[in-house]
């Protein structure tokens, strides 16, 4: 045999070159044995050419079912081909107690080494009396039985599968003379501790928030629903990232058709990688061209559980601390988890205020502009005097003034968010104070405009849902332009268009504006008003469930009746 490397540079001298030649030889042998002669020829050249190796890898990936070779050398060569010279890829040779050689392959960055150590120790220990290698009919089955200490073992005959498992962080055991590989799942590696949700803060109620680890996140949900009916279906999304996605629902509550639809839409996703649940959401939305979040995303496990109990589905994406909840609806934007933990009359007031100020956030500056430039008669005379007095000498038209200030506010907000935490606070306060104060001093904008913009900005920060407040922030600008060009007429048109759009939206078949859009009076117990918990006896009718009853009727607490025992 003549190798290109040796032909060019004489005898192979470096360790690396020798390894490559060895790898190439093993690959050629493996492929020839499978009858893949074209690939075998390529493997022959792979010793000296990285390009040939990549090309060979591509070809092999296309082969549907390559068997796991029974020769450990071939295993090494193949894994070397798949992973290249990965520093964190560890091959550990060990001998089964009294039996054949085994090589354990794993990525030490993803594996909990202490746990692995314990499992491997069991393997190399000599087998008990009478269970020696002579009695093994199947080595792989034996190994699996000995590995009872490991949390999860799988076996495969498929090379692709085995390599994929290594990439996912499992430890693969290849046994000499066996065509099966055994995977031990002892994944490890660092993850963030569970801490309070940063984006959805509440005063009263559970404080745990999701983290980036799927395992932790599903634990947080499981811990709150201690019932076998909580189902979690896992699938992977992303051709390269192989991101795990879990669809959670409660079997006897959630409609199976909803779960099927969610799974169907998730399986339709074809993309190289998913980094956050937001990307998943964009793939499975009903109407992609909308500013409003058709899918609710939350950082709080208690919110997810609440939604599951309403018959919704949750989607948890590995690597994202935001879980998705479908179907979403417009009223979500005025609801916060705390509404359910605080006294119900207070929740009513707060929800009304939120809705009101959602409107302010949307229409505040545009109403001001429309009223001052078109409809002076709508402003009380005395108020008009003070507005006029402060507008005196302002060089810009009111629309431009509003646009400048709105943009200024966006700058402050964005800078405050993006700045390093140590600076963020001072930037927002200093920016707001100094910009506002000196803009008035310099006579560039009028004081009432600053007030309007500030109130609008605060109002948009008040909404519990960040995505919705983003939508309102964006929509504010077209409204402002409409108000500046057509006055209240333009505002009415804009508002009507927006309302029409909102009414046309649906999320997983559920009208977005329900229970207002299709009018569902039975759902009003928990939209703007929140009835006391004992009065919320039915799950929302806008979302279909297999079981709509959530609490027993007539359980209003009251003192026991005089004389005759407590009421039933």
């Amino acid at each position: 045999m003549r190798y290109r490397a040796s032909a060019r540079g004489g005898a192979p001298c470096t360790l690396r070159q020798r390894r490559e030649i060895e790898q190439s030889r093993q690959l050629t042998a493996y492929l020839s044995a499978l009858g893949l002669h074209g690939e075998a020829r390529l493997a022959f050249r792979a010793a000296s050419s990285a390009h040939a190796r990549t090309k060979l890898l591509e070809l092999l990936r296309r082969q549907a079912d390559l068997p796991v070779p029974s020769s450990l050398d071939q295993v090494r060569a193949l894994i070397g081909l798949y992973f290249g010279q990965a520093e964190d890829l560890i091959y550990r040779d060990l001998q089964l107690g009294g039996g054949p050689m085994v090589v354990a392959v794993f990525l030490n960055s993803l594996v909990d080494e202490k746990l692995l150590e314990r499992n491997l120790k069991v393997l190399i220990a000599p087998p008990p009396q009478g269970q020696g290698p002579e009695s093994w009919t199947n080595v792989a089955t034996y190994v699996r039985l000995r590995l009872a200490t490991s949390p999860e073992t799988n076996e495969t005959r498929n090379l692709d599968q085995a390599v994929q498992w290594i990439a996912e962080g499992r430890t693969l055991l290849f046994i000499a003379g066996s065509d099966r590989a055994i995977a031990i799942n002892v994944t490890g590696g660092p993850h963030r501790a569970v801490e309070e949700s940063k984006s959805e803060r509440i005063i009263r109620g559970p404080r745990e928030g999701f983290v980036e680890s799927l395992q932790v996140n599903t634990t947080l949900i499981r811990r709150r629903i201690r019932d076998p009916r909580l189902r979690m279906t896992m699938l992977t999304v992303g051709e390269i990232t192989h991101t795990r996605v879990v669809v959670a629902h409660i079997a006897t509550v959630c409609k199976q058709s909803l779960v099927d639809e969610v799974l169907h839409r998730l399986r339709r996703i074809r993309i190289d990688g998913i980094l956050d649940s937001g990307q998943v959401a964009e793939f499975i939305e009903d109407t992609p061209w909308t500013l409003f979040p058709l899918i609710r995303s939350t950082e709080r496990p208690d919110v997810v559980v609440g939604c599951l109990l309403e018959g919704r589905c949750a989607i948890i994406v590995d690597g994202s601390p935001y879980a998705l909840v479908v179907p979403g609806s417009f009223v979500d934007l005025v609801q916060s988890a705390e509404d359910y933990y605080e006294r119900f009359p207070a929740a009513f007031l707060i929800r009304i205020v939120r809705l009101l100020f959602a409107l302010v956030a949307l229409f505040g500056p545009s109403l001001y502009v429309a009223m001052t430039t078109f409809h002076r008669e709508m402003i009380p005379t005395n108020l008009l005097f003070s507005i006029m007095a402060s507008r005196e000498g302002v060089p810009f038209p009111a629309v431009l003034e509003a646009l400048i200030m709105e943009l200024g506010f966006e700058i402050i907000r964005e800078a405050g968010v993006r700045m390093p935490t140590q600076l963020g606070q001072s930037v927002s306060i200093v920016g707001a104070l100094i910009l506002g104060e000196s803009a008035i001093q310099a006579g560039i904008v009028s004081a009432p405009m600053i007030i309007t913009v500030a109130v609008t900005g605060l109002a948009s920060l008040m909404l519990p849902d960040v995505t919705t407040s983003l939508a309102l922030r964006v929509l504010r600008f077209p409204m402002l332009l409409l108000a500046g060009t057509f006055g209240a007429y333009g505002l009415t048109l804009g508002g009507a268009a927006l309302l029409t759009h909102l009414l046309s939206l649906r999320s997983f078949g559920v009208p977005y504006m329900a229970p207002f859009g299709p009018f569902l009076p039975s759902d009003f117990d928990d939209t703007l008003v929140r009835m006391p918990t004992w009065a919320l006896v039915r799950r929302p009718a806008s979302i279909e469930q297999t079981d709509t009853r959530r609490a027993q009727r007539k359980k209003k607490p009251r003192p026991p009746r005089q004389g005759g025992g407590s009421s039933a």
């Binding site: 061209w289 001052t372 430039t373 078109f374 409809h375 002076r376 008669e377 005379t381 005395n382 008009l384 005097f385 003070s386 507005i387 006029m388 007095a389 402060s390 507008r391 005196e392 000498g393 302002v394 038209p397 009111a398 008035i440 001093q441 310099a442 006579g443 004081a447 500046g484 060009t485 057509f486 006055g487 209240a488 007429y489 333009g490 048109l493 268009a497």
Partner: protein, 397 residues
Amino acid sequence: MRRAVALLLLLPLLTGCWSRRELNDLALVVSVGIDLVEPAVYEVTLGVAGPGAAGSGAAGAGGGQQGGERQPVKIVVTERGRSFAGILRAVELRLPRRINLTHALWVVVGERLAEHGIGDSLDFILRAPEFRLQGMIMMIRGRSVRELLEAHPLMEALESKALTEIAQARIGLEMRLWEFFSARATEYRAAMLPIVELVDTPDAGPIGQRYVAKLGGAAIMREDRVVLYLDAQEVRAIKWLRGHGREGVITVPCGEEPGAQDISFRITRASVRTRTAVKGNRPHFDLILQGRLRVSEMQCPRPLTDQQVQAELVARAEQELQDLVMQVIRKLQEAEVDPLFFGERIRALYPGVWRQVGGKNWGKTWRESPVHLTVDLRLDTTGLMSDPLRAKSGPEG
């Protein structure tokens, strides 16, 4: 999507609000005065709220002192011409900003115009979309419209504000533009104009004037000119009959025999009921005034706890009110004017009779109609004390 874009593009073609005008391009008119100079030549005086002192200074210096100087400066502009609209155009040649009438909530009619007949000189006010008819209308007596518009009020920044506040406080007569015009729209209803007078008073010294504007009586119009003046006292009867008797004060002598000592009653509740009957084409009116009183002042030493004394004093108040109201009604009947819309009741309840005696002839019929008045006042409380101090029957006697 394409349809939405097409709709957006069509949007500017629709009727919209095209009068986009920044606030600092506006001359905000707060009061409008109109008077007659010679037949068919009117003089219109506009009270314009000019930019405040803070704004007119350098913009840069404005920030510091804005707080104190928010009150608008008043600018008074007068122009003569043959029509209201023409005069407004002529004024605009002088004012650097566009006239805006949306806050012209005070219309003052000059004495000369009111007495020579308003005619259709106020047509503009009804026709122009900017005018709001909830504004007040008044008439200036004795002085010119311009003098009134230039006067500084005691507390408010603008005279219009001051006088409309006074009228709204239910002490003076309150006449809104819509009310005035709806009365002018028929032949049988008479329009009323509250009268403003400029009275000399030392109160006006601190504000650099000799006089202040004061809401006084009322002028009653037949057709389009004033035929009858009522004084401030008589306006109180008008207010009673319009159902606004509350907050008024009735003062009657309280001594054993009428003398210098008085008792004043504050009216805490007032209502008026009118019953109509027709006897052979002759309308009869039966008015019942009911009110509740509170003693607000008493100067003579008589025991108010005594039921008889109470009854006597209340009876005097009733008599006083009866006399006042009857006097006003007689005046109205003699002048053949009906600003209280008694005719309206006949028209609504007895259309048959109305066809014979109503319409143009209502003035004559009204003059002949008997009016019967019942006054029923009740004393609710004597205030925070019962007997006056001197009426106490203590050990000293």
